[in-house]
């Protein structure tokens, strides 16, 4: 389990890192390394140069001034333990607390996680549900992409080779309840299905809902059908049945499956876990 030989650079600023990326085709950014390094040890990636951005200052903090801004280098453990995250986006604390195991959470970063875009990972589903923005720096300046547009396909995101994710911003989104629930793979704990629900309530009725699904699909995605079924309902069993049916329709063309958990099974479980997520969110 030794990687092929590679060069190593440790820039101290985003500008320096961008220059290194521009000068070295095939170089890879190293943040937490918990997806990249295993691939390198398996010789599935022989990057000639690793650009270690892990010590760039200013990318590792969480701030809350209306919207919640999470530096790209914040680890899953940082986020799960953050009082700010727990207060304004508790589903993200839940999801980051479910990634891998403690060792992975202590090293793996949110920026690396979204750049990698594993469809079975937990945080992207919550970011899509909360309309998060991915803030990106490149040679020609900065840009910001909505999470729903950022995740394009399996391991495919709206990020050019010369760009770096600097932070993830979650706009203020007052809500009465939110939850992330998942069916973990029994061996790997990756999400076979993961659902995030954000609820707005007016008394006992639901005045609006955001529903996002991951794990079962090639990318984290919203379900407009399920959201419409929940909106204006009293969140009774009939409304949840309708939302589950609509969710299953919405994801029909984007399902993934494998030998153990085929597409049809994941589609069915997405409906089951949607209901659990609504109840967990206080619906």
């Amino acid at each position: 389990m030794w990687p092929a030989e590679f060069d190593y650079a440790r820039p101290s600023s985003v500008a320096e890192a961008l220059q290194l990326l521009a000068d070295n085709e095939d170089a890879k950014l190293l943040a937490g390394g918990h997806s990249l390094l295993p691939a390198m040890k398996l010789r599935l990636n022989e990057a000639p140069l690793l650009i270690d951005i892990s010590r760039i200052e200013g990318l590792g903090s969480i701030s809350n001034n209306g919207s919640l801004t999470i530096g790209a280098l914040c680890t899953h453990a940082d986020i799960a333990a953050s009082a700010d995250v727990q207060a304004s986006c508790s589903a993200l604390a839940t999801a980051t607390g479910m990634v891998g195991d403690q060792q992975v959470r202590n090293w793996g970063t949110l920026g690396g996680n979204v750049a990698h875009a594993d469809p079975a990972s937990d945080p992207p589903t919550v970011l899509v549900a909360f309309n998060a923005n991915i803030n990106i720096e490149g040679a020609s300046g900065g840009r910001s992409v909505a999470a729903a547009d950022f995740f394009i396909d399996l391991f495919t995101v709206d990020l050019e080779p010369g760009e770096i994710i600097t932070s993830i911003e979650i706009p203020a989104h007052p809500h009465e309840g939110c939850a992330y629930v998942k069916m973990p793979h029994p061996a790997s704990r990756y999400a076979v299905v993961g659902i995030c629900v954000v609820l707005h309530k007016d008394g006992d009725s639901c005045s609006g809902a955001h529903v996002a699904v991951g794990g079962a699909t090639v990318r984290a995605m919203r379900s407009p059908g399920a959201e419409a079924a929940l909106r204006g309902s009293s969140l009774d069993d009939a409304a949840l049945d309708a939302a589950a049916a609509a969710l299953k329709d919405d994801i029909a063309n984007d399902l993934i499956g494998d030998m153990s958990f085929p597409e049809a099974y994941r589609q069915e479980m997405a409906g089951v876990y949607l209901k659990r997520a609504v109840r967990a969110a206080g619906g």
Partner: protein
């Protein structure tokens, strides 16, 4: 694993067919293709090198692409075999063109893909989704070229 799909074109069947038989169109549709040269003394066969980059996996695959069972202007079989990253990929796809009453053409493709070796062992949970995405990219690129050639 089996994969399939359908594309609809406004163009006439002969037009779609000529793009499908054009080596440059096939080469241009392969994601990450770096080299595509005819095999000597053989018709309808090419040596190809493609750089594949997905997730943390990145590397070059070398292999061959072959056309067979050519029945102009209706159908043929495209066979792909390659190796890289300690893995062997092989696949073949039958493309079939059906004329529509409105003058357009439907392209049906039926593929069978196999991946063995390191990638299959490590990436088992996602290999089918990855093969699906690659096929869709290939046919998406092909469809774009057919529309552009019109």
């Amino acid at each position: 694993m089996k994969l399939d799909g359908t594309y609809l074109f406004r163009e006439k069947r002969e037009q779609v067919w000529s793009t499908l038989m054009d080596p440059e169109a096939i080469s241009g549709a392969i994601p990450g293709v770096e080299e595509f040269v005819p095999v000597e003394d053989e018709q309808h066969a090419w040596r190809a090198i493609a750089k594949v980059s997905m997730a943390a996996v990145s590397g070059r695959f070398t292999g061959q692409v072959r056309m067979s069972e050519i029945q102009a202007p209706v159908s043929y079989r495209l066979t792909v075999s390659g190796e890289g990253q300690g893995s062997i990929i092989s696949g073949n796809v039958v493309m079939r063109l059906v004329e529509r009453d409105d003058g357009g053409t439907v392209l049906h493709w039926d593929a069978e893909a196999n991946i063995s070796g390191k990638l299959a062992r490590i990436g088992q949970r996602l290999i089918k989704a990855a093969a699906n995405m690659m096929s869709k990219r290939f046919f998406g690129n092909l469809a774009r070229q057919i529309r552009e050639a019109a």
